[in-house]
C-alpha cells in the first residue's frame, strides 16, 4: 500500500504508523459523565466496512499526523489530509466528527 503524504508525496506504507479511527473525539474532561465518555473514547471502536477515516503518522517522514480516507476492503485511498488542518477546521466550524 502507498500513501500520498501532503508534504512528502507518494510514499511506501512502511514509512507510516497506523493509529486508527479518526472519527472519535476526545471528550470534554469536565463533563459529568467524563469517565464513561473516556472509556468509550479509548476502548470502543466501530468496525465499519468500506470507507473509513483513520489516523496515520508519517513516522519516517515529516512527522505529520494524517487523516486518510480509505476503503478497508480494497485499500483504495480516497484522500489524505493533514490532521492538524482537519482538526483546526472542525474547531472553527464546530463540525462534529
Amino acid at each position: 500500500m502507498r500513501i500520498t503524504c501532503p508534504h512528502c508525496g507518494n510514499r511506501s506504507l512502511d514509512e507510516f504508523i497506523y493509529l486508527g479511527d479518526a472519527t472519535v473525539q476526545r471528550p470534554d474532561p469536565a463533563r459529568p459523565d467524563a469517565l464513561a465518555a473516556f472509556v468509550d473514547y479509548v476502548y470502543q471502536r466501530e468496525n465499519p466496512v468500506g470507507r473509513h477515516r483513520e489516523l496515520w503518522y508519517h513516522n519516517a517522514g515529516c512527522h505529520a499526523w494524517l487523516v486518510v480516507t480509505r476503503d478497508v476492503r480494497t485499500h483504495e485511498i480516497f484522500g489524505v489530509e493533514p490532521a492538524k488542518e482537519v482538526s483546526l477546521s472542525e474547531k472553527t466550524t464546530g463540525a462534529a466528527r
Partner: protein
C-alpha cells in the same frame, strides 16, 4: 520399453551453445550438457527420465513440463550449506560442476523400498491420516507424525547457515510488463516508444516465452529469431529496464509488485559481493500482465509414468534445447494444439505412432497434416492406460468403435488445453471467470492499473497476443501520461485454438493423477465429494490438491472440473480457491535481505562510542543503541567486580557516563508551557527559566507512558528528555496531542536526540572537574547553580554547551551537553580534566545500580501496567488541571489501595543474592497465585551498602515497612525471606545531590 543409453540430443537445432559443453552430476553420476541447457533438458538429453519419487506413493516420476509449473522434476541442488531442496529442474540453468540429487527415495531412485506404498494405495486415500491416526491422540506427536514425515517427504534443508546474501531494492516505473512472450514484447515496445519508463520482467533467462519453445514464423523470421530481434530493440531503448530471471510473484496495493530476481542462481556460487537473489519492490503506474498460459495434463490411467509429458513441453525441449523427448511418440490431445506437435515431431524425425484425439471429428487441418506425415489418426479415441513403470512403454487406447488397441511408445505428448496464468490478477481479491470457448478460467476483475494481454487473458493465438500486447502497451503508456505512437504490427499466420474439454478418461485403469506432486488422483476427489468435502476450499485441504510446492499449477483446474462432474455442477459454480502471493517460491532469505544477524536492525552509536571502544568497554544493546555496559580493567574477575569499582569511584570521587541516548525533544512556542501542562501529570507553568523538573506522563488509559526531566530554557522554550526506550513513542505522542487534539496551541517541537552529546558527571569532585572545562565567566557554585538548575554555557574556550544539575545517581552531579560533533572531543577533555581525581567512566550497569540504590524507577517499573500511584508518584498528579490520562487514571481498579506499590527489599540473609522476577507471598501462606502480593522488578548488588538490594511492587507496600515476607521464584527453584524497606537505600535525605 526402455530408452537406449546415449543421447537424445538432436544433431542440430536449439538455442543452446554447442561449443560450450557443461559437466554436471545427478545422483553422483556424471553427465554432460551444453550452455543454455536447463538441468531438465540436459537430463533428458542424457536419457535420464526417472528424476524423482512421488510424495505419497513413491511412484517413479519424470519431467512433464519445461517451465516453472513443473510438478515432478524437483531435486536437491548443490551441496553442504548451499543445498537447496525442492528445486525445479526446469528452472535450473546448467552450470559447470552442477550437482543435483533426487529426492524422496531410499536406498536409491531406481530401487525405492517405500514404493511399496504404491501397493498400499487403496489405504492411503484422501483423509487417510485423519482417519487412521486418530487414537490415541498422545501418539500423534511422538509416533505417527515422525514416521509419516520420514516416509512422505520432499527434500531436506541443509540445516546450516545460508552463506549467500540477498538484497532488497525498489524500482519505480510508468509501465511494468510482466512476461516477455509475444504480448509482453509488443507491450513493452509500444509503451517504450511512447516515452514511458518501462520495466520488463521475465522469469526465464531469455526473453521470448513460448516463442522460444514453438516454431512459428513472424515477419519471415522464426519465432525465436523474432524474439531475439525484439529483445535487442528493447535493450537499445534508453528507458526500458529488462529484468531477466525475475519472476513477479505478487501484486500489492497501490500499484506495488513483488518480484524475485535470481541474480546468481545460474552460477556455481555468486560472484564476490553479488547477492544470490534480489527482492524487487516495483512501483508502477500501470502494469501489463503478459504471462503465459499453462498447459493442462490429461487425466488417464498411469498418466504419471516418466515419458508422459505436456505437448508444449515436448516442443520446447525439441526447439529450444534440441532434445527429442522420445523416439516413438503418441500424441494425445483434445485441442488443435495437436497440429504443431504432430508436424514438428515428425519433422524432427521422431516417429509418431498415433494422434489420439477424443473428439469424434479431428479438425481438417490436423487431419491433412497427419496424413501428409503418414501418421495414424485415432479420432474419438482415448488413452485409457499407459504401460510401463519407470518409463512409459506403450498405451492402451480405446477406439471409437469400442475396441482396445495397444501401441508401443516411449513418449506420450498430452494436452488437455491451456490455463491462462490468472494468478496475479487474483492477489487483490479478483476472482477468475469461466470461459467455455477455451474451457479455462480467465481473469475476472483485475487489480487497479493492470491490464492482461495475450495467453494470460485467454487470447491463446499468436496473432491475438501480438495485437493485444501492442494495444494494451499503448493504453498503459497513455494512462501513465504519455502519447501513443502507432507502429506497424508484425504479420503471422492464423491458427486454430479449438478445444473440446476432456477432464478425465472415464474408463481409465490404474491411478489417474490430477495433482502429481501431492499424489492426488481422481479417486481422492471422488472420495472427497462423497464424504461431503465439496467446497473447493474443503476439497483442497482434504485431498491436498494444489497444496504442494508447485501450488497445483498443472492440477487445480482439472481438480475443480472433476469436482464439478462428481457434484453434478457447472465448473463456474464450483468456483476456485483464492490464489495468494507468492506465485512461485521465494526464499525467506530474499524477504530478509541484508536484515539478518547484526544487521537485523540499525545500530545507533552514541558520540563517545569510539572512545569507549578504545577503553575496552563491554557493550549492551538498548533498543537500536549500542551503549557501554561497563569498562573492565585488567585483573578484574567478572562484571560485578568492575561495576562495583565504577559505583564506588562515582560515589567517592567522580565518574562519567554517556547519557546521549536519552530522547531529547526541543519544544518552543507561546503555548509550550500550557502544552506541557496537558501532557505531564505535574505542573509546568510555574517552572522558572533556567530550572529543570522531573515529569511523568500517562497514556490516555491512565497508565504511565514515560518519565524524564524537562528544562525551561526560556519563557517559551523547553527541552524535554525521555527514556532511551520510549523516545520515538513519546515524540509520536506529543505530535498527536499537538496536531490532532490541540492544533490551536502555539507550539512546535522537534527531536534533538541526535543533535546533542550529553554526559553525566557524578561524585564529590564533579565541580573540581567542571571548573577546568566550563569557561570562567559561568558561575557553577552551589549558590549560583543549585540542584535542578540548568542553562546555556560555554566550555573549553567558547564551545556552546548546556549544563544541567540533574542527578540520577544520587550524587552531586551535572549533565553537560554539547553539539554531537563535539561529543568525542568532550569525553576526552573530561577524562583529561578528571585524571587527577581518578575520574572513572561508568556504563549502564553502574548507572542501574546507583538508580536502584536511590529508588528511582526505570524501565522495569515503567512496564506498561503501572500507574503513577504504583510507582509511589501519586502525589505528583495535579488536581488543578486536566492532562492526558487523568480521567481514566481515576478508574476504581487503578486507585484500589490494595494495588502493589514500589518499595525496597533486602534479603534477611544479607549474604544472599536476590533476583528480579521473584513473587512476594506472606509467610505461612501457600506459594500459589491467589496469595501473590507482587513481584521484584530490579535488583543490584549495592557496593555502597554491601549487600543485594531490590525494588519491587508489593500490595500496600508503603504500609508494611519492616515486614518479613517470602520471595518465591519457582522458575529458578528459589525461595528466601526479604525485608520490606524504603526504596531509597542511599542518602535518603538527598544531602549529597544538593551539596
Amino acid at each position: 520399453m526402455t530408452l537406449p543409453p546415449g543421447s537424445s540430443r538432436m544433431s542440430k537445432g536449439g538455442q543452446i551453445d554447442r561449443s560450450t559443453p557443461v559437466d554436471f552430476s545427478f545422483d553422483g553420476r556424471s553427465y554432460q550438457g551444453f550452455a543454455g541447457d536447463t538441468l531438465a533438458s540436459a537430463l533428458l538429453a542424457n536419457n535420464v527420465r526417472l528424476i524423482g519419487r512421488s510424495f505419497k506413493y513413491h511412484r517413479p516420476r519424470g519431467l512433464i513440463a519445461a517451465g516453472s509449473e513443473e510438478p515432478n522434476g524437483i531435486v536437491e541442488l548443490r551441496s553442504d550449506a548451499r543445498r537447496e531442496p525442492n528445486t525445479r529442474a526446469t528452472m535450473i540453468e546448467l552450470y559447470q560442476g552442477l550437482e543435483a540429487e533426487s529426492q524422496n527415495r531410499w536406498p536409491s531412485l531406481d530401487f525405492d523400498l517405500l514404493s511399496i506404498n504404491s501397493f498400499l494405495s487403496p489405504f492411503l486415500t484422501a483423509g487417510f491420516y485423519y482417519k487412521t491416526f486418530m487414537w490415541p491422540a498422545a501418539l500423534w506427536e511422538k509416533l505417527y507424525e515422525p514416521i509419516i514425515r520420514r516416509a512422505a517427504g520432499l527434500g531436506k534443508a541443509s540445516g546450516l547457515d545460508d552463506p549467500d546474501h540477498y538484497e532488497k531494492s525498489t524500482l519505480f516505473c510508468d509501465v511494468l510488463v510482466i512476461g516477455s512472450g509475444p504480448a509482453g514484447l509488443m507491450a513493452a515496445r509500444a509503451a517504450a516508444r511512447s516515452g514511458a519508463r518501462v520495466v520488463l520482467a521475465e522469469e526465464d533467462s531469455a526473453l521470448g516465452g513460448r516463442l522460444l519453445g514453438d516454431q512459428r514464423i513472424i515477419d519471415g523470421l522464426s519465432s525465436a529469431e523474432w524474439a531475439a530481434k525484439m529483445a535487442a530493440e528493447l535493450e537499445a531503448e534508453p528507458d526500458v529496464r529488462i529484468l531477466r530471471r525475475t519472476a513477479v510473484f505478487g501484486v500489492y496495493d497501490g500499484g506495488t509488485y513483488g518480484a524475485l530476481e535470481r541474480v546468481s542462481d545460474h552460477l556455481a556460487e555468486p560472484h564476490h559481493h553479488a547477492p544470490r537473489q534480489r527482492l524487487w519492490r516495483i512501483v508502477a503506474k500501470r502494469a501489463v500482465l503478459a504471462a503465459v498460459a499453462i498447459e493442462r495434463p490429461l487425466v488417464f490411467g498411469n498418466n504419471d509414468r516418466p515419458g508422459i509429458m505436456l505437448a508444449g513441453a515436448v516442443r520446447t525441449y525439441l526447439h529450444r534445447f534440441g532434445v527429442a523427448s522420445g523416439s516413438n511418440a503418441i500424441v494425445f490431445v483434445n485441442n488443435d494444439d495437436a497440429a504443431s506437435t504432430v508436424s514438428e515431431l515428425a519433422a524432427a524425425g521422431v516417429s509418431v505412432a498415433a494422434l489420439v484425439d477424443p473428439r469424434p471429428v479431428v479438425s481438417p487441418v490436423v487431419e491433412a497434416l497427419a496424413k501428409k506425415a503418414g501418421i495414424r489418426v485415432i479420432s474419438g479415441g482415448s488413452v485409457e492406460r499407459a504401460l510401463g513403470s519407470k518409463s512409459v512403454s506403450g498405451a492402451e487406447i480405446r477406439l471409437q468403435d469400442g475396441n482396445l488397441l495397444t501401441l508401443p511408445c516411449d513418449l506420450i505428448a498430452m494436452s488437455g488445453g491451456w490455463n491462462p496464468s490468472v494468478h496475479l490478477t487474483t492477489h487483490l481479491n479478483g476472482r477468475p471467470v469461466w470461459n467455455s470457448s477455451i474451457a479455462a478460467f480467465v481473469p475476472g476483475a483485475v487489480p487497479p492499473g493492470m491490464a492482461v494481454a495475450g495467453s494470460a487473458s485467454g487470447a491463446l493465438s499468436l496473432a491475438d497476443a501480438i495485437t493485444m500486447g501492442d494495444s494494451l502497451g499503448q493504453d498503459a503508456a497513455i494512462a501513465a501520461g504519455f502519447k501513443a505512437k502507432k507502429s506497424a504490427l508484425p504479420s503471422v499466420e492464423p491458427e486454430s485454438t479449438a478445444i473440446q474439454p476432456l477432464w478425465r478418461v472415464v474408463n481409465a485403469r490404474g491411478k489417474s493423477f490430477v495433482d502429481f506432486q501431492n499424489d492426488v488422483s481422481v479417486l481422492d476427489i471422488e472420495l472427497a465429494e462423497r464424504e461431503g468435502f465439496r467446497s473447493v476450499e474443503h476439497l483442497k485441504r482434504y485431498t491436498t490438491l494444489g497444496m504442494a510446492t508447485d501450488q497445483g499449477k498443472t492440477a487445480n483446474v482439472n481438480g475443480l472440473a472433476l469436482m464439478a462432474e462428481f457434484a453434478a455442477k457447472a465448473i463456474e459454480n464450483v468456483g476456485t480457491t483464492v490464489m495468494r502471493p507468492p506465485f512461485s517460491p521465494v526464499a525467506i532469505g530474499a524477504f530478509g535481505g541484508h536484515h539478518r544477524e547484526k544487521n537485523f536492525k540499525p545500530t545507533r552509536l552514541p558520540p563517545s562510542h569510539e572512545w569507549a571502544v578504545e577503553q575496552g568497554a563491554v557493550f549492551v544493546e538498548a533498543g537500536y543503541w549500542l551503549r557501554a555496559q561497563y569498562y573492565p580493567k585488567p585483573g578484574e574477575k567478572d562484571w560485578l567486580e568492575t561495576v562495583t569499582r565504577e559505583v564506588k569511584a562515582a560515589r567517592s570521587s567522580v565518574g562519567v557516563c554517556d547519557v546521549s541516548t536519552l530522547g531529547k525533544i526541543d519544544i518552543q512556542g507561546a503555548d509550550a508551557a500550557e502544552f506541557l501542562e496537558r501532557v505531564y501529570i505535574n505542573g509546568w507553568k510555574n517552572l522558572a527559566i533556567g530550572r529543570a523538573r522531573y515529569g511523568l506522563m500517562l497514556r490516555e488509559d491512565g497508565i504511565v507512558m514515560d518519565d524524564g526531566t524537562t528544562t525551561r530554557l526560556g519563557e517559551d522554550h523547553f527541552f524535554m528528555t525521555t527514556t532511551t526506550a520510549n523516545a520515538a513513542k513519546v515524540m509520536q505522542h506529543l505530535e498527536f496531542c499537538h496536531q490532532w487534539l490541540w492544533p490551536d496551541l502555539d507550539v512546535q517541537m522537534i527531536s534533538a536526540t541526535e543533535q546533542w552529546a550529553q554526559f553525566s558527571l557524578a561524585g564529590p569532585h564533579v565541580r573540581d572537574v567542571l571548573l577546568k572545562l566550563v569557561d570562567p565567566e559561568h558561575d557553577i557554585s552551589n549558590a549560583a547553580f543549585p540542584y535542578m538548575a540548568a542553562g546555556e554555557i560555554t566550555v573549553c574556550g567558547g564551545t556552546r554547551a548546556r549544563l544541567y544539575r540533574l542527578s540520577f545517581s544520587g550524587e552531586l552531579a551535572f549533565e553537560i551537553g554539547v553539539p554531537s560533533r563535539h561529543g568525542d572531543a568532550l569525553i576526552r577533555k573530561i577524562m583529561e580534566a578528571g585524571a587527577e581525581y581518578g575520574i572513572t567512566p561508568y556504563g549502564t550497569e553502574a548507572l542501574g545500580v546507583m538508580r536502584i540504590e536511590k529508588g528511582h524507577v526505570a524501565g522495569a517499573e515503567l512496564n506498561g501496567i503501572s500507574t503513577a500511584g504504583d510507582l509511589g508518584l501519586g502525589r505528583m498528579m495535579s488536581i488543578k488541571k486536566d492532562y492526558i490520562g487523568r480521567v481514566l487514571a481515576g478508574r476504581p481498579a487503578l486507585v484500589d489501595p490494595n494495588r502493589p506499590v514500589v518499595v525496597g527489599f533486602r534479603p534477611v540473609d544479607r549474604k544472599r543474592r536476590i533476583r528480579a522476577g521473584a513473587h512476594f507471598i506472606r509467610q505461612g501462606l501457600e506459594a500459589a497465585a491467589q496469595n501473590d502480593e507482587g513481584y521484584m522488578t530490579s535488583v543490584a548488588f549495592s557496593p555502597s551498602i554491601g549487600h543485594w538490594i531490590g525494588l519491587g511492587f508489593l500490595a500496600r507496600g508503603p504500609e508494611r515497612m519492616g515486614e518479613i515476607i517470602r520471595a518465591c521464584d519457582p522458575i529458578r527453584g528459589e525461595e528466601y525471606l526479604v525485608e520490606v524497606v524504603s526504596p531509597i537505600f542511599y542518602d535518603p535525605e538527598g544531602e549529597k545531590l544538593r551539596g
